[in-house]
């Protein structure tokens, strides 16, 4: 129960649930809607940059800019689909594909050395020099059997991350 759930009909909830492949329960979708409305302060139907960055926990995250580019201008249905990778019901493949999409900022289906370097720069900031970053990346790439100019595709990511324990789950608080 809650006041804003009256704005979402059962049809809406089912449509959203189908769009995210049933990774969220109906109650979770209602909670996410309340959260979406809470963040979308000017009721524009989508969450703007300012509104996202007004959440300090999000703003201090090193990858906030990248994630923001992925979630910018999404309506509620797409917002839920975006977050579905973090559901406990999401498959490992789904999660790995999400990570791939974070790296593949131009969306061409391939992750190049520059993309890897960009993300590493976001994560390490000014505390490693650019040259050191390139060295580190080249070193681990070669060790894994890739070359500096290799282009990684989702199946490569699946191979590299597939057997790690990927802890990528967020609990949606349900009132």
């Amino acid at each position: 129960m809650g006041n804003t759930s009256s704005m979402l009909t059962q049809y809406d909830i089912e449509e959203v649930q189908e769009h995210c492949n049933n990774t969220f329960s109906q109650q979770e979708i209602v909670s996410l809607y309340q959260r979406f409305c809470q963040l979308d302060r000017n009721s524009g139907g989508f969450i703007s940059a300012d509104e996202f960055l007004s959440v300090p926990e999000f703003a201090v995250n090193p990858l906030s800019q990248r994630l923001f580019r992925m979630v910018d201008g999404l309506n509620f249905k797409e917002f839920v689909a975006f977050l579905s990778a973090f559901s406990s019901r999401a498959t490992l493949q789904h999660k790995v594909e999400f990570i791939f999409k974070v790296y593949d900022s131009d969306g061409n289906g391939k992750v190049a050395f520059s993309d890897l370097l960009d993300v590493l720069r976001d994560l390490t900031g000014q505390f490693i020099s650019e040259q050191q970053r390139e060295l580190v990346l080249t070193h681990v790439l070669e060790e894994a059997g890739y070359k500096k100019d290799s282009l990684l595709v989702p199946s490569d990511f699946m191979k590299i991350l597939g057997n790690t324990e990927l802890k990528m789950e967020v609990e949606v608080p349900v009132d």
């Binding site: 926990e57 977050l83 999400f98 990570i99 000014q126 681990v140 060790e143 894994a144």
Partner: protein, 371 residues
Amino acid sequence: MSKLTSSSSELDLDRPNIEDYLPTDSIQEPHAKLRLRDLLDISPTLTEAAGAIVDDSFTRCFKSNPPEPWNWNVYLFPLWCLGVVVRYGILFPGRVLILTFGWIIFLSCYIPVHLLLKGHDKLRKRLERALVELICSFFVASWTGVVKYHGPRPCARPKQVFVANHTSMIDFIVLEQMTAFAVIMQKHPGWVGLLQSTILESVGCIWFNRSEAKDREIVARKLREHVEGADNNPLLIFPEGTCVNNHYTVMFKKGAFELGSTVCPIAIKYNKIFVDAFWNSRKQSFTTHLLQLMTSWAVVCDVWYLEPQNMKPGETPIEFAERVRGIISVRAGLKMVPWDGYLKYSRPSPKHRESKQQCFAESVLRRLEEK
């Protein structure tokens, strides 16, 4: 969109470690050789970001929870309607009358005292103090305030300041009706500002302006001067710097704790049974907030005057502030969150992000060395 400024002056390097409060999944396992999958696996950072999107402790502090409706029944609904009629039709006009009456008495005593007793400062101050306490009592009566005060009443002594948690501007009125405090407040526009510049000046209030960076030093100096003055009214400070929803406390600003004086904590807890006293300044103006209080049954709250605290040897002002915040939060049953209330108005300082980056960078370099 308005440009928000980074509040670098507010977040000092020796503040309590914020990483203790945030999820620490991004800390890598310390001793294993660096592999490609370790660099590719950004899932901890992503999970933190997604967690913040889904729910974060900062937004929770300022969420006003609407009261649960109870009138969803055939016989409860007419009862509720009757209640509305009584509240708006009988109580509200009655309260407006009481308040008007109070203002008339107050102004007819205050203006003569203020103008005629210009020469006799001590007497004038005493009378003005009593009158301010009077008008505050009228205000509290106009919301049918049921305020229970626990603990010894504050006394006016030099070298002491009072700090309290902040839920709404009515905190000041609730406390002022018992003791005439001098308060430090944000200057507001409108009729509130008028009241501030006339009546509250007489009690010795200090003004600050959130948006001015240099303001901090000026205010700090004024605070120190006030505390050292022997016959100034006791100083009341709300170190959170902003109104919080009375379920949480945000970080206390250290300004009140580095004056070298005794700090007397006051805890205020509102009972939401009839009305939520949290003033959500983003959602309503102060006038609307007051009207909402005046059309509800009662404002119920508890005020605890707690044991005065001194800075322990070797304690920094920030640690002292956090310790007092803990005392107040425990007494009032509030949860502590590690955020600076001013983040409502500005972005977090880049220092947080940089410390995460530094942590990760160091672990990468260290693991690179491992063979």
